[in-house]
Amino acid sequence: MPTLTYRDALNQALREEMQRDPTVFLMGEEVGVYQGAYKVSRGLLEEFGPKRVVDTPIAELGFAGIGVGAAMGGLRPVIEFMTWNFALLALDQIVNSAAKMLYMSGGQIRMPIVFRGPSGAALQLASQHSQAWESWLAHIPGLKVVAPATPADAKGLLKSAIRDNNPVIVLEGEMLYNLKGDVPDGEHIVPIGQAEIKREGNDVTLVCHSKTLPVALKAADQLAEQNVSAEVLDLRSLRPLDEAAILRSVRKTNRAVVVEEGWPHVGIGAQVVDLIQRDAFDDLDAPVQRVTEADVPMPYNKHLERAAKASPEKVVAAARKVLYLNGD
């Protein structure tokens, strides 16, 4: 199986879908001539021409709206945001137009549109450019939200997103673009709404997604050295959530730690904990713990930033807590 970077896996998904379906087109800042701020669209302008790879002005609300209109007209736009921090300006189109079109038109108007771009913190981009928006986006009925953590999932989920007849949010990561992994050639589809166990274990379930997958895997390695067998469950889709997979794993391990990149208050983890406490109550041996980013604007200072992020050490500490290994 070929090894690709996350960025090239996304590029492959875009290229294959654009080859397969002439209604698919890409639009956003610097996607064409500059080949993408993070080079995800490398070579696409050359192959598909300026009608299908459209450079836009710095006007997120405007080009998101054009995308919504194009989708209403029967095309399948892929809207790239240079980062999701900039997409805040486009939220009105995403939330009020894209997410509600099918509902408010009484099912007459489909909205096959993809909004994608990197989300969350990278390194020292400071408060305004280091935000993980998944709980905001997953909050909205009418949207689907995916957050692939591996190159293979990035390809498979972007393909599913493009083929979906509903608006799909794809949350990528600046720190993920260089990640390498095996990616199946050609038709590789990861259905939206399916979590995946990335590492099997028996003692505790580490629920994660996107950039917290490597964090959870590293924590699982450290826990293994302490004779704790951790299961790592990658949610992959945040809306819809693969509730069955979460419950299956927690029923096996009896304990869970939910790891996410965003802030703690009203986070994705809170949603997962709600599910577990209600539907796996009698299988729980300890209250579920969460590991999140600190409840502050992301610091610019390198050390403070590191301290604010979810880390393997924090996950290990939380896992030991649910296993009652801390003596408290």
Binding site: D282, D285, Y324, N326, G327, D328
Partner: protein
């Protein structure tokens, strides 16, 4: 946030505890697992341990105070951290000798109507409520384990999965009646075997219990010649010499009682309402008088231990029993008991069975007596032993056979090494 230190249920039946001594004082650094205080329960003096790291911020209860289980007795937190209203949330601790609070004072005519209404007292934590994880609850239910009897190792004494898993197995191994083989030899080395009550046993249990209290006792007394046991003891102690750890008559009796039980499993049993639990292990409860009562520390697997081991263990247990420092697991789980009042010059007596055990042997003093031997009279050291039997488990002939074996063993101590 500061962590509350609760009065914990340190024994299965504890409802309140007297704070004997604070080992840590306000301002001391404490680590999880440190002994904070000594607490006298209904059975023993136990250690109350810290379940958080930090500083002992506030001690809520002075030494000598009796506090219901569940009440806050102290706070642990970061230095300088504030604690909740200095314990206002906790009901006022009850002083040891103080009379019971008059909960149901008769509604006397209110002579002082201007008395401001008392705020409703906050109910103390229900001492009988068991804190357990949902999983532990489910597992306990499925396994038939009584959570009240499980010591919780989680925060605040929460019973968690591992506690239920290590709780005494209650999964019963059922055997058809009649399949019971009496001798322990050849029996599988599981701790015990549960045999359902047969109809006749049920009838015996019901009728005899109706006749004489919940446990229908009967008593079997025999006089045992202790001459050879005394000689053996003297020889052994001479051999031990300066090594110390002398062997007492009590040690010999415990060993003999245990070994005789190996041959009479029918007497090594618990009555359990709808079945009888025949133990394959022999754990001897040893009644020890303490200042204000009595307690029976247990010598486990006494049949497998040497006289020296039994001697050392019984001395050690008795000493700790007198200072009330036995752990619950050290005074529960006996399969049979021995009570010895020989040192008090009691010729013979009947001991009360300690349920669910089915028997106890009461040992009197060893005294020189004139005994006919052939056609002349000799002076021998003799001892009277009286077995109390639970008639629901042990019938007269069964008990008599056991006492015969016990007598033979003590009269011929060499039989014990067979």
């Amino acid at each position: 946030m500061a962590t509350k230190v609760h009065m914990e249920a340190l024994s299965p039946t504890m409802e309140e505890g007297r704070l004997v001594k604070w080992n840590k004082h306000e301002g001391d650094a404490v680590k999880s697992g440190d002994t904070l205080a000594e607490v006298e329960t209904d059975k023993a003096v136990m250690e109350l341990v810290a379940r958080a790291d930090g500083q002992l911020l506030k001690v809520m209860v002075p030494e000598g105070t009796t506090v219901p289980v569940g009440n806050v007795v102290a706070w642990i937190g970061k230095p300088g951290e504030k604690v909740d209203g200095d314990g206002a949330a906790a009901p006022a601790p009850k002083s040891a000798p103080a009379p019971e609070p008059q909960k149901r004072a008769p509604p006397a005519v209110r002579s002082a109507p201007e008395t401001p209404p008392q705020p409703a007292p906050i109910a103390p934590t229900d001492a009988t409520r068991v804190k357990a994880s949902p999983l532990a609850r489910r597992m306990a239910k499925e396994a038939g384990v009584d959570l009240k009897l499980v010591q919780g190792s989680g925060p605040g004494g929460r019973v968690v999965k591992r506690d239920v898993e290590s709780a005494p197995a209650t999964e019963v191994q059922r055997t058809a009646p009649g399949a019971l083989r009496t001798p322990l030899e050849g029996a599988p080395r599981t701790p015990y075997e549960d045999v359902p009550l047969t109809q006749i046993r049920k009838t015996i249990a019901k009728r005899l219990a109706a006749s004489i209290g919940p446990i229908p006792h009967f008593f079997l007394t025999t006089e045992i010649d202790m001459e050879r046991a005394a000689e053996a003891r003297e020889a052994l102690n001479k051999q031990l010499g300066e090594e110390g750890g002398k062997i007492s008559f009590n040690d010999i009796v415990i060993k003999a009682v245990a070994l005789a039980l190996v041959q009479h499993r029918a007497c090594n049993a618990w009555f359990q309402e709808d079945h009888i639990r025949y133990w394959n292990e022999v754990h001897i409860g040893m009644a020890v008088a303490i200042e204000d009562g009595l307690i029976t520390p247990v010598i486990r697997n006494a049949d497998l231990k040497s006289l020296r081991e039994i001697g050392a263990e019984s001395r050690e247990l008795a000493a700790r029993a007198r200072s009330r420092r036995l752990k619950p697991e050290e005074y529960t789980g006996a399969t049979f008991s021995v009570s010895n009042l020989g040192m008090f010059d009691i010729d013979q007596f009947t001991a009360v069975i300690n349920p669910p055990e089915a028997g106890i042997v009461a040992i009197g003093s060893i005294a020189a007596k004139a005994v006919p031997e052939g056609d002349r009279v000799v002076v021998r050291r003799r001892m009277r032993a009286t077995m109390s039997c639970d008639h629901r488990v042990i019938d007269g002939a069964t008990g008599a056979a056991y006492m015969k074996t016990l007598k033979q063993m003590l009269e011929n101590p060499l039989a014990m090494v067979l």
